[in-house]
Symmetry: C2
Subunit: 111 residues, 2 copies
DNA sequence: ACAATACTGAAGTTATCGCTTAACTATTGT
DNA sequence: ACAATAGTTAAGCGATAACTTCAGTATTGT
């Protein structure tokens, strides 16, 4: 259920923005509140919340609110899905190159 | 030289569009001309060329023109760089979880 | 030489993005 | 009770993105 093309779309779109990638990077070192995520970013808290919503909609980040603080954490399964998409394409290409190499090697010294 | 944040930015931005991912997908099965790339896409050839330029600027695709046909192929190194970025963040998170698990296991049955 | 092919480039349009400000709600600390 | 903290929501705005059409340029096949 993670290969849903619509979800993949949201994930890559989410990763396309440098601020959002910075947020993911921060979260890869551990959970954080919204203000903690915002702290290194040169933009309003409001803007950060909007980025966070994009990340959450994409499935890359999950958040949980306790009292007045919203704690955010990475969803590794979603990261894995994006990773997997790229990996499959790259491997398909590289396997193709290998087969081509074999073919050339076999054909080289023939009658 | 592949971890240049600007290049990473271009790559993720390039992958954010479904049409461009479809083009990358097609190219993962082997080189193709611009028209071949355009064929399954419901848009003008001109639009495809624009997408292709984005892909090329990002380093994900390399093209070469012979006569009147431009042949496009995937650049696996660039794909690997994007893959790597995601992988590092995911692993950082998972290692963190592991350490946390170890800590809890050690602390569990103590005086 | 002429027509068809395979792009290329510019201009214009519409929609979406990434922000800002401002006003608001809910929780917590004194 | 009051103020400070933490986040939310809506409106608006300028910039960019994803197209379109149309007019052009090389190349190639007949």
């Amino acid at each position: 259920m993670l290969h849903d093309p619509a979800q993949l779309d949201l994930m890559f779109q989410a990763l396309a923005d440098p601020a959002r990638r910075q947020m993911v990077d921060r979260l890869s070192r551990g959970p954080a509140s919204v203000s903690q995520l915002a702290e290194p970013l040169a933009m309003s808290l409001s803007a950060v919340v909007q980025h966070l919503n994009v990340l959450e909609a994409s499935g890359l980040v999950r958040t949980e609110k306790l009292g007045r603080v919203r704690t955010c954490r990475i969803e590794p399964q979603a990261l894995r899905a994006a990773e997997h998409w790229i990996n499959e394409r790259r491997l398909a290409w590289e396997r193709r190159l290998d087969r081509l190499g074999d073919f050339l090697a076999e054909t080289k010294d023939e009658p």
